[in-house]
């Protein structure tokens, strides 16, 4: 297409040059001659006018073809540009790839360098480890020797420790024993005192104060005012005053005795009646009058006697403390 238009253009240029030359040689007024010739050509085609019309037509065609070829050339240039851009792009990509590869290689190189260094180091180490091992072996040898020595000394110090422990134990045992001795002594004293008091109680000696004695006196005084009553000088009171006061105290004491001491008669027969006993327990029955050596014992029951069946005293948690059987009282 290009060649064809180029040839057509060449031919047209030659025609144009030739036409130009012909027009300039024949001194033809182009425009008037064109209109004249066109008219003439239409009316009668002949000679120069015919050429002139051909020339103008060719000129028109030439102008057209120049326009067409110019357009084609412009189009070709832009196509080339795109192709070039593409090529540039490819090249850029290639360059990038190369760059990447370069970095890779560089790292590889670095790695290799490192490895090399490592290898150097391990080589050095190996050499020194060998040396060290030898030294250590020697050290171990001497250490085990030391250990044997140490074990020996440990044994000795252990023995010392054990001995001192034993000494300590013995010492503490000694203190314990002394303490125990002390305690036992105390207990002994206590029991001696108790025994003494029990003995005294048993016999009713003058120093006998069993805790229960305090307790019973305390209750008799608290509930029935017995101590107060017996200690009061009643000689100035008339019988009515005495009777009224005693009635109340009698009532209270009776209540206490009934509550705390369960009593029953030794003999259940009526007092004043005649009783006959085959044998007599002197602790329970007292006989008087004309007493035969052997039973049966027959006589009048004077007193039925009392037997303490049960004693319901409150339990003293810590024994009796002190010697107070009636507290002093203060009202605030």
């Amino acid at each position: 297409m290009k060649k064809l238009t180029a040839r057509i253009n060449l031919i047209l240029i030659l025609v144009l040059v030739a036409g130009g030359y012909y027009v300039s040689v024949n001194k033809i007024d182009p425009l008037s001659s064109l209109i004249k010739q066109l008219r003439d050509f239409v009316l009668s085609v002949a000679g120069v006018e015919a050429y002139a019309s051909v020339y103008y037509i060719s000129l028109l065609i030439l102008l057209f073809s120049v326009f067409v070829s110019l357009y084609a050339a412009f189009e070709g240039v832009s196509k080339k540009e795109i192709a070039l851009e593409k090529e540039i792009k490819f090249l850029k990509e290639d360059a990038e790839e190369y760059e990447n590869k370069k970095v890779e290689y560089m790292t590889e190189i670095k790695k290799l360098n490192l490895r090399l260094q490592e290898l150097h180091i391990s080589l050095e180490q190996k050499v020194s480890i060998d040396k060290y091992e030898k030294v250590q072996a020697k050290a171990e040898e001497s250490e085990s020797a030391l250990e044997v020595e140490k074990a020996k000394s440990d044994e000795l110090s252990n023995k010392i420790k054990k001995l001192s422990q034993k000494i300590e134990d013995l010492n503490s045992e000694k203190t314990k024993l002394t303490e125990q001795e002390h305690e036992l002594n105390e207990k002994l004293k206590d029991s001696e005192a108790k025994l003494a008091s029990a003995n005294a109680n048993l016999k009713g000696g003058k120093d006998a104060v069993p805790p229960a004695a305090y307790q019973i006196l305390y209750l008799l005084q608290k509930e029935g005012r017995l101590i107060d009553m017996l200690h009061e000088n009643i000689s100035d009171y008339d019988d009515e005053t005495l009777g009224g006061a005693f009635r109340k105290l009698h009532e209270d004491l009776q209540e206490l005795i009934k509550e705390r001491f369960i009593l029953e008669p030794v003999l259940n027969e009526e007092e004043g009646s005649t009783v006959t006993l085959d044998s007599i327990d002197p602790d329970a029955v007292k006989v008087s009058g004309k007493v035969p050596a052997e039973g049966p014992f027959k006589g009048e029951l004077i007193h039925k006697g009392w037997r303490l069946k049960e004693c319901k005293l409150p339990e003293m948690v810590e024994g009796w403390k002190g010697d107070v059987i009636a507290q002093a009282e203060i009202e605030i």
Binding site: Y218, L249, M316, E331
Partner: protein, 600 residues
Amino acid sequence: MAAAKYIVGIDLGTTNMVLSYSRITSGSDDEADDGQSIEFLPIVQEQPKNAVDTAEVLPSFIFERLKEKPVLPWESDNEFIIGEFARERGAEVPDRVISSAKSWLCNTRVDRTKAILPFNGEESTKKISPLQAMSMFISHLKNAWLQEFPKDKLENQKVIVTIPASFDAAARDLVIEAAKMAGLPSVSLIEEPQSAFYSWISQKENPWRQQVKKGDVVLVVDVGGGTTDFSLIEITESDGDLNLDRVAVGNHILLGGDNMDLTLAYIAAKRLEDSGKKITRWQTVQLSHQCRKAKEILLSDSEKDSVPVTVSGRGSSVIGGTIKTQITREDIENSIVEGFFPHCSIDDEPAEDTTSGVRELNLMYAADAAVSKHLAKFLKRQMNDAHKEYGYPNAILFNGGVFKAKIFRDRLVAIIDSWLTESGKEQIKILEGIELSKAVSRGAVYFGQAVSGKGIRIRGGVSQSYYLGIETPMPAVPGFKPPLKALCVAKQGTEEGTVLKIENRSFGLIIGKTAEFRFFKSNCRREDEFGQMIPDMDETFEETSLMMAEMPAYDGLKAGDLVDVELEISVTEIGTLEVYCISKDNEHRWKLEFNVREAA
């Protein structure tokens, strides 16, 4: 928990406590034990002079120690003495003693969990709450039990605690709480008059089935040391066998035998003062003891016309310091019989406390000593509703030491007969065979057996009807509170183990706030049905402790949100009343707790 070996009845009396027990037998007798095998625990108690002793009764007194060293095996640093010695020291140092703790438990005008006892005690005195006091008694009994039965701890036994029938739901809760604090997590409650009735059933000399018949209404009159309690028990029949229904209980009346002794002591003191002698407070206490003895002698021996009462001199001059006067038969008849059991009409009401102005906050002692008038009021109230026959009992069962005296029984019977004949009814029948002083704790053990299926059981249920106060919606009027309506949440007689829901009524409660309901009771509105709304509240309603529930935020609901709830009521097996609010989606429930802290 080991299987219970014993049934234990604890009588938490106002002035004396008793613990009775019976071994659980494996026999499958239809009848429970006849009471022969019931024993009383010897209760270890502190005595003066570092001694301990046992007694069958534990006097209900707590004394804050001065210098006395604790001696009981289970206490090394207890600041309080409990029992006999506490009573003795309390007479000498009255500011440090706590008495009648039980009656404080049902005093709605004080915070029963706050340390207020001894009431009006000095600033320096250590105070404890009525709840704590109760728990200390139970704890003492528990320890005393352990001394006797080291292998069978009390918490592993079946324990029944007796309470006055007049105790309201809040006071019942407090007794349970006190038992829990003392380490008894599961005790059951029984009303004292019911317990006395059980004791009567358990005796064999006068078989109860021969003494009552179907349709009889039995009036139980229980006058103890400090309280008077009335109950009505109806004899019904089903399947040919007799049943017992407790149909009414009276109000809490702080009036009893102690008041009689005190009355006589005042008479004696006045007589002594008239003769120019000065009586100290200590002597009044002694006089009161003497007067009790004199009263007992005069009541049991109709030959005697007077008994001397004597107080010995306090100093060592015991005879010279003695003061003496006497109590006569006339005193008993004029002051005690006429004072406590005066003839009266059924329409008579006990005098209200008319002292105007501010009344000292204390126990609500009965203002009128006339037991007969309190009884008239109780019976009259029964005639107000559908079951008028409950106002005209056919039989009477006496309980309490006071009724050992025939003169009181006869007088009360004469009064009731006058009421009955007036309305054309037959005279009342006296039920025989009850042992008057230990019947309550004995009966508690029988009840324990009855619960386990041996012997007959009284159907009691809720002792009175209970109501929530609901405000009537109305336009706001300044200075005028919207009137209250009463929603019946528990009908008198609702049986143990019942769970009921008020279906068609819901309440909007606000999350994050405390839901509060005023709570009322009534012992003479038998016809009100569960869930019924009573528009006008008259004097038959009595306000009791507030009920309230904290309403914390929960899943998704935050403070300020309104949640719709319905009410569910549960009468527990142990004899308490529980009220729950249940959200409508049924996913959340709040228990309404009695507010025993603030005065109602």
